[in-house]
Structures are given as structure tokens and as C-alpha cells.
């Protein structure tokens, strides 16, 4: 039976995560590149994207992507596997973050914090968020479809209000408070055992804080993504998919709907809690308003752009959602330079870019400018919104679907039609 990749003789072999040797090798190479990406190594630095993503400024953005991806993986379990619409994922992220700061933060005159080490606050963030998810589930299981979406939307507003009621935990509105750093201690000793948030020296190499944070977050994401991929092919995962596809039929076949929906809420909230805690800790200080509706829309967008129900799709979507703004800025900047230097395309780019007052153009590169030549910050939001619409209209399976199309083209080449 060897060497026949599409022949499956058991359920186990069909649902394998890595069915073929090619896939194993490709994934190992990909992971190796990911681990080595932030360092200045000769071969790795020639690969497109990797060439600049390892730079310090971009690496911070990549780190944000990783934090975001943890929570997005959770939403994928709820929406992609169980089919329950949630526009309130940031609420659970916020629950995780504030648990983290309560358990791990420093206390002062008007702030609460117990100052415990990371191995306490990070799991605590996930567990408390999961418990809140279980507490919300009875209300959420009763309603379905868009009603559920709007109920979860309500959670976001209730959460924002709670952050105003408890300034001892959330810090002053608009400012927030300091989160515990990403550093590993045994207990409350002075010097951390491993410090992910300061420049340092590991083994024989100098390593800066962004690279350290990157490696730490990457490890979490790999573990969480692996767990999520495995969940999808476990008993629980099959039950959730059955509920998604036809809930009454699932129940008739003996899948307890209520229990599994509660499980889905708990797991997805656990992911969100971990993601929120890591994101807050990585950012240092964030205001309560960060956990708002716009963030929740970003999660939904990441799922739809990446491809719902697929771990790899979710990771691609997260990368896309977080970095697209930066890419738009870079492109506009590049167009501006082209227009200024003069060249083959300078006439076309000059049409788009307005460099100052009086100069015609579609985008203004002056950061303060508002009004008709759109500021870049407005342009990238518009492009982001248009992309959501574009993907839903033309590629419902998202980036994952595009990848499948490309792969199938080359799989069948030269007979691809």
C-alpha cells in the first residue's frame, strides 16, 4: 500500500495530520525557517518575505500577529468547528488579560495585583476565561445564528463597562496599567530565570528582546496550533462538526448538543484568554478600550480571509489582518519615492499620491492631513474593509482556498484544467 498517497484504508490514516513524507519534510523546513527567521543567517535571509520580516520593526508586528493568532485559533474552534457565530471574542481576550494583570501585576495604592510569576498568571488567564465562557454558554446555547452574534456583541459592551466599574483591575480609562513582563521566575525572586522582554545573551549569541519574545510566542503558537489541529480530529472535534452541519441530526445520533457547545465556548475562551494575556503583556500597557468591537471584527475577518475551519488558514488570515496596514503604508511610501525620483511609473504614481498642499492625488502622505486626499491611515482601513468584501464575494474559502487551487494546479500539471 505504500506510495499511493490517496489510498486510505482506515479512518486513522485518512485523518492523519501529516499523511505523506513530502508534507512532513515541507513542514519541518517551514518550521526551521520560522525559528531562524529573526536572525541574520546567510541562506535564510535570501528567502522572500523572510528577508525583511526578521528585521526589528517588522518583528514586533510579527509578534503581534502571533498573539492575535492564538486567540484566532480559539475563535476558529467556536466558529469554524462548532459553527457558533461570535462577534465578542475580544471580551474573552480581555478577561484573560485582566486575570493576568490581577494575578501577575504589581499592586499599588489604587491598583490590585498579586505579583505572581508567569507560570501562574498565564494558565490562570486561560482558565478564568474558559470559566467565564462556561458561565456565558447557557445563554449562548439557547439562541442561534445572528441572534447569537449580537448577544456576543453585547458581551463586548458589558465588558467595557465592567472595566470602568473596576478601575482597581483595569487601570484608569484611556490609559490602562502596566502588565507583568514576559519573564520566567520560580517565585517572586528579584532576577528572573529567563527574561523574554530584555536584550540579552543566550549561549554564544547576542539576542534582543524582540527576538526572544518571538521565539517564546512562536513556541506557544506551535503548541496551540498543534492542539487545535488535533482537536478537530478527536471525538470532541467530530461532535462539534456534526453540530455545525446539522444540530438536530447530531442530537438524534447521540451527540449532546448543550454539553459540546459549552465545551466549544470553554476551549475557544481559553485560547482567547491566553492570547489576550500574552498580547497585553507583550504590549506593556494598553487601555481598556482596546478590547472593543473593532478588535472582534478583526478576528472574524481573520477567519474569513484565511479560510474558516482550517488551522493553516487561520494563521495566514491572522498574518494578513495584522500586517496588511503596514504593507499598504510601505506601498504608498514606495509610490511616493517613485513619484519624487521620477522614472518610468512616476506619472502614474504621482496621480495617486499627494505629497503636500495643492498637489493633486488620491492619497496624502502628510500624516496630519485630513479630508480629501485620504490620509494613509484611512486608506489602509478602507482597503482592509474592501478586502473582507472581496474575499467573501470571490473566494469564500479564503487564502486557504487560494492555496488549494494553486496546489491542485501543480498537482495535476501538465494536465491541469
Amino acid at each position: 500500500m505504500r506510495g499511493r498517497p490517496n489510498l486510505y484504508i482506515s479512518y486513522e490514516s485518512e485523518s492523519q495530520l501529516m499523511p505523506t513524507l513530502t508534507k512532513k519534510i515541507a513542514l519541518s523546513l517551514f518550521l526551521l525557517v520560522l525559528v531562524l527567521m529573526p536572525f541574520d543567517l546567510p541562506v535564510i535571509d535570501q528567502i522572500p518575505f523572510v528577508r525583511f520580516l526578521g528585521d526589528n520593526v517588522w518583528l514586533r508586528l510579527v509578534n503581534r500577529t502571533l498573539c492575535f493568532a492564538i486567540a484566532a485559533l480559539g475563535l476558529n474552534i467556536l466558529m469554524g468547528l462548532a459553527g457558533q457565530i461570535s462577534i465578542g471574542h475580544t471580551f474573552f481576550g480581555g478577561v484573560g488579560a485582566y486575570t493576568a494583570v490581577l494575578v501577575g501585576g504589581k499592586s499599588s495604592a489604587n491598583l490590585w495585583g498579586w505579583g505572581l510569576p508567569m507560570w501562574v498568571w498565564l494558565p490562570a488567564a486561560g482558565v478564568v476565561a474558559a470559566l467565564v465562557g462556561i458561565a456565558v454558554a447557557p445563554a449562548a446555547v439557547r439562541v442561534r445564528g445572528l441572534y447569537l452574534g449580537i448577544v456576543t456583541l453585547g458581551l463586548v459592551f458589558i465588558g467595557l463597562h465592567l472595566s470602568r466599574v473596576f478601575p482597581e483591575i483595569a487601570g484608569p480609562g484611556g490609559l490602562g496599567r502596566k502588565w507583568p513582563r514576559l519573564e520566567f521566575r520560580l517565585w517572586k525572586e528579584e532576577d528572573p530565570l529567563v527574561d523574554f522582554s530584555r536584550d540579552g545573551h543566550w549561549f554564544w549569541f547576542d539576542i534582543n528582546k524582540n527576538q526572544k519574545t518571538y521565539l517564546f510566542l512562536l513556541a506557544i503558537v506551535i503548541v496551540m496550533a498543534w492542539a487545535a489541529a488535533n482537536l478537530a480530529r478527536s471525538r470532541t472535534g467530530r461532535a462539534l462538526q456534526a453540530i455545525r452541519d446539522r444540530d438536530i441530526a447530531a442530537e438524534i445520533m447521540g451527540v449532546p448538543e448543550y454539553r459540546y457547545k459549552t465545551t466549544a465556548f470553554a476551549i475557544s475562551s481559553f485560547y482567547a484568554g491566553i492570547g489576550g494575556a500574552v498580547f497585553a503583556s507583550f504590549s506593556g500597557q494598553i487601555p481598556p478600550e482596546q478590547w472593543s468591537l473593532i478588535g472582534a471584527v478583526n478576528f472574524v475577518a481573520a477567519l474569513l480571509i484565511g479560510g474558516m475551519g482550517r488551522v493553516s488558514g487561520v494563521l495566514m488570515g491572522s498574518f494578513f489582518v495584522i500586517t496588511s496596514h503596514r504593507f499598504v503604508e510601505e506601498i504608498v511610501d514606495w509610490m511616493k519615492h517613485q513619484a519624487e525620483d521620477g522614472g518610468l511609473f512616476s506619472g502614474i504614481f504621482d496621480f495617486f499620491v499627494s505629497t503636500g498642499q495643492g498637489d493633486g492625488g488620491f492619497v496624502s502622505v502628510m500624516e496630519t492631513a485630513l479630508g480629501y486626499p485620504l490620509p494613509v491611515s484611512a486608506l489602509d482601513e478602507i482597503i482592509f474593509g474592501l478586502l473582507i468584501i472581496f474575499f467573501l464575494l470571490f473566494e469564500p474559502l479564503g487564502l486557504y482556498g487560494m492555496w488549494i487551487k494553486v496546489r491542485n494546479y501543480w498537482k495535476g500539471w501538465p494536465f491541469s484544467y
Binding site: I85, A139, R142, V143, R144, G145, L146, Y147, G149, I150, V151, L153, G154, F157, I158, H161, L162, R164, V165, R246, D247, I248, A249, I252, L293, V297, V300, A301, L304, L370, G371, Y372, L374, P375, A378, E381, I382, F384, G385, L386, L387, I388, I389, L392, L393, P396
Partner: protein
Amino acid sequence: MDIFPVLLAANGLDTFVQTLIKALALGSLYALLALGFVLIYKATQTVNFAQGALALAGTWLLSMIFMDWEIPGRLIGGPGWIHWIIALVLASAATGVIGLVIERLTIRPMIGEPIFSMAVITLGLEVVIRVVAFDAVNTTPRVLGIPWGTETFQIGGAMVAWSYIAAIAMAAVAFMATWRFFKTRTGVAMRATAFDQEAALAQGISVGRIFAIAWAAGAALAAISGIFASMPPWGPAGMASRDGAFFAFRALPAVILGGLDSAIGALAGGLIIGFAEVFAGQYLASYTGVLGAGYQQVVPYVVMLIGLLVRPYGMFGTEEVRRV
């Protein structure tokens, strides 16, 4: 942003009357917004999350039409308030055209796709329209030139703003018009489409046209409610400002409580939420220390959650028929 400062009238009865009218006015406003959601949901089974952004666009259009371009003033003479009403009609019509374009470009190709995909498309639209409208509003609020401004009158000892009366009257007109509309041929066709799209198609109803009408009407209603929501006691002194884009989200509890596909539900839900919010804001004010500042803005969501636990499809919503 506390838009409901606690009233301090001379005696209990005046306070009550004043609160009652205020609640009625806010309820009407929520009902207006909810009606826009319901019309679009009835036809296309989509919650249009872009209603708030459309409301802001409509408010901006009114400001441009009335204050900057002075279109009504150039066409006819007469007193200023007639100009303003003409501008109101023009602005809502223009927003309706935006709704038509949106429907044709993004909603029509999605017929038959999962409802959630359509809802997320409107989330994308919300981002686009909101950013463009923000940029147009240009951080400095734009004056709307509302004829009655901040004027008030007295009933007994109770102070009542004219905007309250205007909002109540506008909601009454809108709901009467909707009620009449559902009796017309097109209205019946819309109800048939809401019930079963394929059956409606088989009866010779142009479902696409129904979609277009619903979106145009929904967008126009969004504009009108956005304009009334930016009147003195609610909005920042009768101007178009960025907050207008988020007001519609506060009406979502009303839509859900009443039922997504029921116009009566929109009215009932809007009034209940409005009453709950205003009365909680007035009579629980002494517990602000416990409940936290601005607690009245969370009241709608709490009422919605309790309502949904009792009736998962809202008070007047049609229960989804689930088949194996």
C-alpha cells in the same frame, strides 16, 4: 459620553413626566433605527452592521445639502424649516441611493450564500463607509442647522425639548408608512420574500427588486434616524460627529429583543429598551457608586440578554423551523 444627565425637577411628578417623555423619545429613536435593521433583515436575512455608518453618511449629507450647498434655499423661498425638511428628504434619498448601490454590488451576488457571510460583508462595508464618512466629517463636527435647535417648552413643571417631540413624531410617521407599505402590492411581495424566497420567485415576484427596495428604504431610515440621533439632547449640540457611527449599535438590543424580522417588534423593542435605559438612568442614579458611571448604557444589553433567555427569537420574531 453621558448623554442623559440626571434630571432635577422641582417635584416627583414633574420628574416622572419629564422622564416619561424622554424615555418615549429615546424609545422612538431606537425604534426608528431598529426599523431600518428589520426592513433589511426581512428581505435579505442579513443584519446590516453598516447601518451606523450609513447614518453618519446621511447626517453628513444633510449638513452638506442644507448648510454648504444650500440646495433647498436655491430652489424655493419660504421659511427655513421647510428648507430643512426638504434637505432631510434629499439626504435620506441620497443615502437610499447609496444603499441601492451597496445592495447591487455586494449583496445581490451573495444570494444563497450562508447568512453569516452576508452579515460579515456588511461589517466590511461598515469599515469602508465609516472611514470615508469620518474623513468627510473631518474631526471637527459639522453643524446641521436643526430648526428647533435646543429650544424647550414646559408641561406643568416638566421641561420638554422640541427634539423629543420631533423624534416621536418622526417615528410615528415612519411606522405608519411601513404599516401602509406592507399592505401595498410591493409590501405583500416583500413579506412573501421574507417568508420563502423560492416560493416568492415561483409566484413571479422579482426577489432582486425586493432586495433593492429594502436596502434603499433601510439606508434612508438609517440616515433619518442618524440625523434625529444627533439632535441637541442626544448628539453633541446638533452636529454631525464621529459618535454618530456607533449609535446604531446601541439600537441592536432593541432589534433583537423585538425579533429581527418584525416591524411591530422593532417598535416594542425600541420602546422597552428606551424606557429601561432612561428610567434606570433616572431612578438608579443614587447607586452609581456600585453600578459604575454610565451604567445606563449597559442596561439595553442586560435587558436583551434576559429577554432572549425567555424568548430566543425575540418577542415577535418568527421561530426558525429546524428540520433534520
